[in-house]
């Protein structure tokens, strides 16, 4: 069954070809990550590194204001972004992928259309939507009023109760093409005979989806979920474009990356580099920890299903 030697090239040559990418990865990813870790273990005076302080910066992060309140709040917002993305982005993406899979004509066209916003810079998407949602000049409220839905027209980005959900929806609007493409490809790769067998056994469309298609998609759903989690935790451009660096209104759209940005570059605090590096490390640990735990758990689920 297992054929370990799949390499087309002898190992030394393969390593040689891997070298450029490995060097780039080392210089631009591993090295900055290692520096961020060391930065967070020192105290700083402006740009000058001072004494080794161990975990003091992390302790400060969890015990002193403003971080003690802002960190959990920002983290909670990231979690809501993830939850929102699972519903508004991935479920919708799966639905669209299934619908498109059932039709031959225009499938490519719709795939391209749904994926298009993906190609635009998220900052641009954010600013675009902030214009569309402006309570003064925005077409969204104008449209709602024009069709008599005055009660629904809101200061979408000005109300703490709606602002975060606007971030979720705008993010979903931009990224829905991602689950759409991945699920679409996975659906195309499924063996049609399983569907036929289910049909012969008399299963309806809904039954086939719930009991045949969905279980077969589980590995892909797991991958998409983990990636969505990582994107949601790292969200920066869209929240920044919609709520500015302080997460307007009144911190309702504040997320971890904004907290990092404010701490690192917008504060006049002497130890800004130390504390902001600690924020970055905490964010990194959360992402790695949850992603690994989730992947492990999901593998177990997969094994039980297959």
């Amino acid at each position: 069954m297992s054929r370990r030697r799949t390499a087309a090239l002898p190992t030394p040559v393969a390593l040689l070809f891997l070298l450029p990418a490995a060097v780039l990865f080392g210089v631009f990813v591993l090295y900055p990550m290692a520096t961020a870790l060391t930065y967070s273990l020192f105290s700083w005076r402006g740009t000058a590194q001072e004494a080794f302080v161990g975990l003091d910066n992390f302790v400060a992060l969890f015990t002193t204001e403003p971080y003690r309140t802002e960190l959990p709040r920002a983290f909670g917002h990231n979690a809501l972004l993830f939850g929102g993305a699972m519903v508004a982005q991935n479920s919708v993406g799966l639905l669209l992928a299934v619908l498109l899979h059932q039709r031959e004509r225009f499938r490519r066209l719709f795939q391209v259309l749904f994926t298009m916003p993906y190609l635009v810079s998220p900052l641009v998407v954010g600013y675009l939507w902030s214009l569309l949602l402006s309570p003064l000049f925005g077409p969204v409220n104008a449209l709602l009023r024009a069709v008599g839905l005055d009660a629904v027209a809101q200061p979408w980005l000005g109300d703490p109760d709606t602002a975060l959900w606007v971030v979720v929806l705008v993010t979903a609007w931009q990224w829905v093409g991602f689950p759409l493409l991945v699920y679409g490809a996975a659906l195309g790769a499924l063996d049609p005979s399983t569907q036929e067998a289910a049909m012969l056994d008399g299963a309806g469309a809904a039954q086939r989806f719930w009991h045949v298609t969905l279980p077969l998609l589980t590995p892909v759903i797991g991958t998409v979920s983990v990636l969505t989690f990582i994107f949601s935790m790292e969200a920066f451009p869209i929240p920044y474009a919609l709520g500015g660096s302080s997460g307007s209104p009144a911190g309702a759209t504040d997320v971890m990356s904004l907290l990092f940005y404010r701490t690192a570059f917008r504060s006049g605090a002497s130890n800004a580099i130390g504390v902001s590096s600690a924020v970055a490390i905490v964010l990194f640990l959360v992402i790695v920890g949850v992603s690994v735990a989730f992947t492990r758990w999901f593998r177990g689920v997969e094994r039980r299903l297959t």
Binding site: R45, G46, G158, P249, A250, F265, G268
Partner: protein
């Protein structure tokens, strides 16, 4: 074997190529026309960095004047994107390819460079600084040693802009008293014009609006001094009353003001849908560009009843400095340049070419509106309080007022609660009197 070596060399070259593409290209200094000519010593090129990408051409013209007078010095002016500048500058000043002279931020955001030892103190280096106003130099001081680390570049003032055509149509004139101010707001509201173009969705704009409209209520510079002396804090009744005044004026602002962006407010004003815009002197260029037919006037808001001072004030703040890199290889030439940047000749060029207020004493403004704003500021200056003294820690005073003001406008807190938000937030790093 030899094939292997060839392969290795090829991949090494590939790596070098890829990395080379990522490294910043060495900025080859372009000797200006004046450089070299008439220079009887060693010709030196000074690297000068700035965040004003939009002013590159103007600055090159300005530095031509300097190069003509100093034939041995060539200025290589490089601008970096404003939003990335602070990061680039921090790296530049700590590394070897940095600038000799650089634009640096004022007040709190200057401190990381001062504390990191990246800038040289200028008190003894640039004697012209003695002529500068203290308020301008405050923006260039190191928090801990009180030394001056930059030649002040520009000053911004905060006042109320108004559309003179709308005022004329409604038979209005600049208000002399608080009652006048309220009456003209009411008249405009009845006429279907938004009186005050304000957007509170951008947190940073809220403290600007607050100081533009109510700095006299809490007392401007006197209150700043009382805070510095530890006699009071932000829960002071006068400060709470100033926030209440801001809340009272909300009826003259657009509906759902926390959903209105700063840029929306600009458009409201330049398109003639709103009559007044409380904001900075830096708006002028944009206003005139967005609507060349717009007739602009400025006034200071009269003090509300119960104000701590009996006259209107204009808040202002220092906006940027020229700093001297601690790592410069050409300290003498850099000092010559900095002395020139502190001279009336350069100050006048800032006024005429860059259309900014220069803190160099004695500069005149050709634009009457600019001259008027400057005169108002000279007559009764006040600090843009939260920016000037309260950006030396995390969270910053302006961010706190942004959040507090948004909650105030949303009705989630009252004036006292908003003042508490500012005071509690600042107490993380600030104690009155320190």
């Amino acid at each position: 074997m030899s094939r292997r070596i060839t392969r290795a060399t090829a991949s090494a070259a590939l790596v070098a190529l890829t990395l080379g593409a990522c490294a910043p290209s060495a900025d080859s200094p372009e000797p200006g026309a004046a450089a070299g000519e008439g220079c009887d010593g060693d010709a030196v090129t000074l690297d000068v960095w700035s965040w004003r990408t939009e002013d590159v051409k103007t600055y090159e013209r300005i530095f031509d004047v300097f190069e003509e007078a100093n034939p041995c010095i060539t200025v290589s002016f490089q601008a970096h994107l404003n939003t990335e500048y602070d990061q680039i500058l921090r790296t530049g000043l700590t590394g070897s390819d940095g600038p000799d002279v650089a634009q640096v931020r004022s007040y709190g955001l200057l401190q990381p460079l001062v504390e990191g030892g990246n800038l040289q103190p200028l008190d003894d280096v640039v004697p012209e600084l003695a002529e500068f106003d203290d308020a301008a130099l405050d923006g260039a001081r190191g928090r801990e040693d009180g030394s001056v680390y930059g030649v002040p570049l520009a000053t911004q003032t905060i006042q109320v802009w108004y559309n003179t055509a709308i005022f004329e149509e409604n038979g209005l004139s600049e208000p002399e008293t608080w009652d006048d101010f309220l009456a003209l707001n009411d008249t405009l509201l009845e006429a279907g014009v938004t009186p005050l173009a304000v957007g509170a969705r951008d947190g940073w704009f809220v403290p600007t609006v607050h100081d533009a409209l109510t700095a006299a209520r809490y007392g401007g510079a006197d209150f700043q001094q009382a805070l510095r002396d530890g006699e009071t804090d932000f829960t002071d009744p006068a400060y709470v009353a100033s926030i209440q005044t801001l809340k009272d004026l909300q009826e003259y602002m657009p509906d759902d003001v926390t959903g209105v962006a700063y840029t929306d407010a600009q458009v409201l004003f330049t398109s003639g849908q709103a009559a007044m815009f409380p904001g900075g002197s830096y708006e002028q260029a944009f206003f005139q560009e967005a609507n060349p037919d717009l007739e602009l006037g400025v006034f200071q808001v009269p003090p509300p009843p119960g104000s701590a001072v009996d006259h209107p004030v204009t808040p202002g703040y220092a906006d940027g400095n020229w700093g001297l890199s601690a790592a410069t290889q050409h300290p003498d030439e850099a000092r010559t340049l900095l002395s020139w940047l502190a001279s009336p000749e350069f100050g006048q060029l800032v006024a005429d070419e860059l259309k900014q207020f220069s803190p160099v004493p004695g500069v005149e403004y050709a634009d009457p509106l600019q001259q008027e704003m400057w005169d108002l500021y000279q007559e009764s200056p006040a600090p843009y309080l939260l920016l000037v003294d309260y950006r030396y820690g995390d969270p910053t005073g302006t961010d706190l007022m942004g959040q507090a003001g948004q909650k105030l406008f949303l009705g989630d807190t009252d004036a006292a609660g908003a003042a508490d938000i500012v005071q509690d937030g600042l107490s993380a790093w600030w104690t009155p009197g320190e």
